[in-house]
Symmetry: C2
Subunit: 193 residues, 2 copies
């Protein structure tokens, strides 16, 4: 039998939570590639303790995002069932862009994880792509997006825009999203005409 379900030691639980809290702070300040030694230092634990709880950076980031992703993905599934597929797609893209920009460099992590099935973040990327795919399919059925648009296009836009949001300027990144979404529309359905 494994130890699943076993109550963890009280100090271990506290260490784990301290590390998560400080990792969030360090990643917000210095990006998702921020120093793990500084995380351990700020959390008041030895570096080995950090590695004991989170063997890789992907696992640590994955633990930090777990809750936020659960909420985000559940909401994404609900969007799929809505009645305005165009607005659903736009709202989804904007929300994920904002989320992905919370840590500078998170888009790079997602890019690496999408291509690496071993990464702890791979399932998250797959889920994100799947939701995009569903939203695109609904919009395609409604005839509001170009017929050649795919879920992958949405994933690329979201990550590229998140990169721009964190590295260049939030406002400019939002403009980029707006222009590109307009480019996603089916010919002749643009709002401006």
């Amino acid at each position: 039998m494994s130890s699943i379900g076993r109550r963890p030691r009280a100090d271990a639980l506290r260490n784990r939570q301290q590390v998560l809290a400080e990792a969030d702070a360090v990643f917000r300040e210095h990006g998702a590639a921020g120093s793990l030694e500084s995380v351990a230092r700020r959390a008041g634990v030895a570096i080995g303790t950090l590695y004991g709880h989170f063997p890789t950076r992907h696992v640590l980031v994955g633990a930090l995002l777990r809750e936020r992703h659960d909420t985000l993905f559940t909401w994404g599934d609900e969007l799929t069932a809505g009645d305005d597929p165009w607005d659903a797609l736009g709202n989804w893209v904007r929300a994920v862009v904002e989320h992905t920009a919370t840590y500078r460099g998170l888009a790079d992590l997602f890019a690496a994880s999408a291509a690496d099935a071993e990464s702890e973040l791979h399932v998250d990327c797959a889920r994100m792509t799947a939701i995009g795919e569903a939203l695109v399919a609904a919009a395609r059925n409604a005839g509001v997006v170009r017929p050649d648009l795919g879920g992958e296009d949405v994933f690329v836009l979201m990550n590229a825009a998140a990169w721009a949001r964190a590295q260049l300027s939030p406002a400019e990144a939002d403009r980029l999203v707006g222009f590109t979404l307009d480019g996603f529309r089916a010919s002749g359905t643009r709002s401006g005409r």
Copy 2:
């Protein structure tokens, strides 16, 4: 009097060129954030020699890009004088995206340099933005792009797409460029209708 115009020592010149050659190789393999120690090692010089010639990473990258940028920017100026402003804009964007993707992480360097007037790459970013501005102005006069489009939008698209090209997939990044350029068009002028 400064030593400008003075003939550099033969060994110094060779070291400089060796460092440039190996830096290009290392940056192509490992990105623009690749190890400078490995560059020096591969070039057969001490680390201090590298720093003597190139005091910062920006200076080194700037020296590597100088020629390519001269060619690129001269061509960009010529594009401005052409007779099809829409094609000119598209060709410019696609060429710069491909260029910026030669070193993974170069878009990040450009993003940092655009915001930092002290960076050796800042003038390059300013020049890139200025050419984009001129191309957008010409396209706006011709009525082929939305009136609210700016040169900054072009800069953002180019860097975000270069990021996507290097981190995700070249083909997908090109699709993103295509969609976004379509979003740049003035209402009612899309090719597909």
